[in-house]
């Protein structure tokens, strides 16, 4: 039921997810942050059962941080390498005990100065995309992206499109998802643009 979608713009990537944590007929929380920070310049929007979401993202992010530590901070993996690493882990687990997560990995390549967005699903498929979505959300937002996306659009324009997507989900999606969290990744790193409910409120 998770809505995960993202779009690249000139100088960065925007990732957005809903903040609902629910199972069956019960909502556990409305302020879950489903966008996990990986490194200083990359983050993953995740959908799936909570356990797999947490397990997978923590595994990937801690391994990526270990890599940076082991190289004494001299080597920062590009989003391309990070995405391939994550995909490889999904592939290894696939025929043993799969991670049932679908992921959008957004990152900023500080060497090449370009934003990158990757679509990764639980079968370990990997595809670089300009915009995309995971889950039911795709049925509603992909057509909006198709219509409104421009190559090298500015941040404000991209954010407007994201908010259009959220509006569409609010109006037309059967599942009630009152809150969304939006993050951007650019040359300055990962930052929260806005959220419906503060994830830190426990």
């Amino acid at each position: 039921m998770d809505s995960v979608f993202g779009i690249t713009y000139k100088g960065g990537v925007i990732l957005a997810t809903d903040q609902t944590n629910a199972r069956s007929i019960l909502t556990y929380q409305h302020n879950l942050d489903k966008i996990t920070n990986l490194t200083s310049h990359s983050a993953m929007g995740v959908s799936g059962p909570n356990c797999d979401m947490v397990n997978f993202t923590e595994y990937i992010s801690k391994n990526l941080q270990l890599y940076e530590l082991s190289s004494h901070g001299t080597i920062k993996l590009s989003p391309y390498a990070q995405a391939n690493f994550a995909r490889n882990e999904l592939a290894k687990a696939l025929r043993k005990g799969p991670f049932q997560v679908n992921v959008l990995l957004g990152g900023y390549d500080t060497k090449k100065d370009v934003p990158e967005l990757y679509f990764m699903d639980y079968l370990a498929a990997l595809q670089k995309i300009k915009f995309g979505a995971q889950g039911y959300a795709g049925n509603f937002v992909l057509s909006i992206f198709d219509k409104e996306y421009r190559e090298d659009m500015e941040f404000e324009a991209a954010l407007k499109v994201i908010e259009q997507c959220i509006q569409e989900l609010h109006v037309r999606f059967l599942i009630n998802q009152p809150n969304f969290i939006i993050k951007k990744i650019d040359k300055d790193g990962v930052s929260v643009v806005k959220f419906g409910a503060d994830p830190a409120d426990t």
Partner: protein, 249 residues
């Protein structure tokens, strides 16, 4: 005294030394010399090939230089049989990294892996250490061209220019005075000069040396090149001509 503590690789002597490791390092000081020089636009590695008899079939491509991946190569000084095991490990590691990250392995990571492998033979298992020293040459997008040296203890360090094998001290002292951020062509000549010195007396001839250079092509891809006989001869001649003019003045 030391005899009691030197048969087990994994035991310290009372003076705090690992004798087996030190003996392994000694073994390399009898091996054919290898020079490595970091140039502005590439790396040069030159080695002395010890041809013991004319009955030996000449090596198909190389005797001392081994390709580890598309962007890394190494030169060996020491027990070749030991080196083969380590080279296999290095190639596997580089290949597995490429499989996992779809990117070339950073050179230092590769060197560190081989060295950690060597180190474990000084601490576990009671097996003797590898009697090999390596010169690793490689290129990655993080640090450009890099030259590393490693020894049987599992220690490694990065160098602008260095020598391993027989008479390496003589070679290193020459490099200290003559190394000056050379181009690849200049580095080739400097390497031959160093080999001349370490092969003390016996004039350098292309039969006894192997010259290797690593550069980038116009697409930014690594090019490994072992100089042909003609190319090597040209370098040797250039060095001979230069030294002649030196002595003339």
């Amino acid at each position: 005294m030391a005899r009691r503590y030197d048969s087990s690789t994994t035991t310290f002597s009372p003076e705090g030394r690992l004798h087996q490791v030190e003996y392994a390092i000694e073994a390399i000081n009898n091996a054919g010399t290898c020079v490595g020089i970091l140039a502005k636009d590439g790396i040069v590695m030159a080695s002395e090939s010890r041809i013991t008899t004319g009955l030996l079939a000449p090596a198909k491509n190389s005797e001392k230089t081994y390709k580890l991946s598309s962007h890394a190569a190494c030169n060996v000084a020491g027990l070749t049989a030991d080196a083969n095991i380590l080279i296999d490990q290095a190639r596997l590691r580089a290949g597995r990294y490429l499989y996992e990250y779809q990117e070339a392995i950073p050179i230092e990571l590769l060197v560190e892996f081989v060295c950690n492998y060597k180190q474990s033979y000084t601490q576990y298992g009671g097996l003797r250490p590898f009697g090999v020293a390596f010169l690793f040459a490689g290129y990655d997008e993080y640090h450009g061209f890099q030259l590393y040296q490693s020894d049987p203890s599992g220690n490694y360090s990065g160098w602008k220019a260095t020598v391993i094998g027989a008479n390496n001290q003589a070679g290193k002292s020459l490099l200290k005075t003559e190394y000056e951020e050379p181009s690849v062509e200049e580095a080739l000549q400097l390497a031959v000069k160093v080999l001349n010195k370490t092969m003390d007396g016996t004039a350098a001839s292309t039969e006894k040396m192997e010259l290797f250079k690593m550069t980038l092509d116009k697409n930014g891809e690594c090019v490994h090149h072992i100089l042909t006989k003609e190319e090597a001869q040209a370098v040797v001649d250039a060095v001979a001509a230069e030294s002649k003019t030196d002595t003339d003045s």
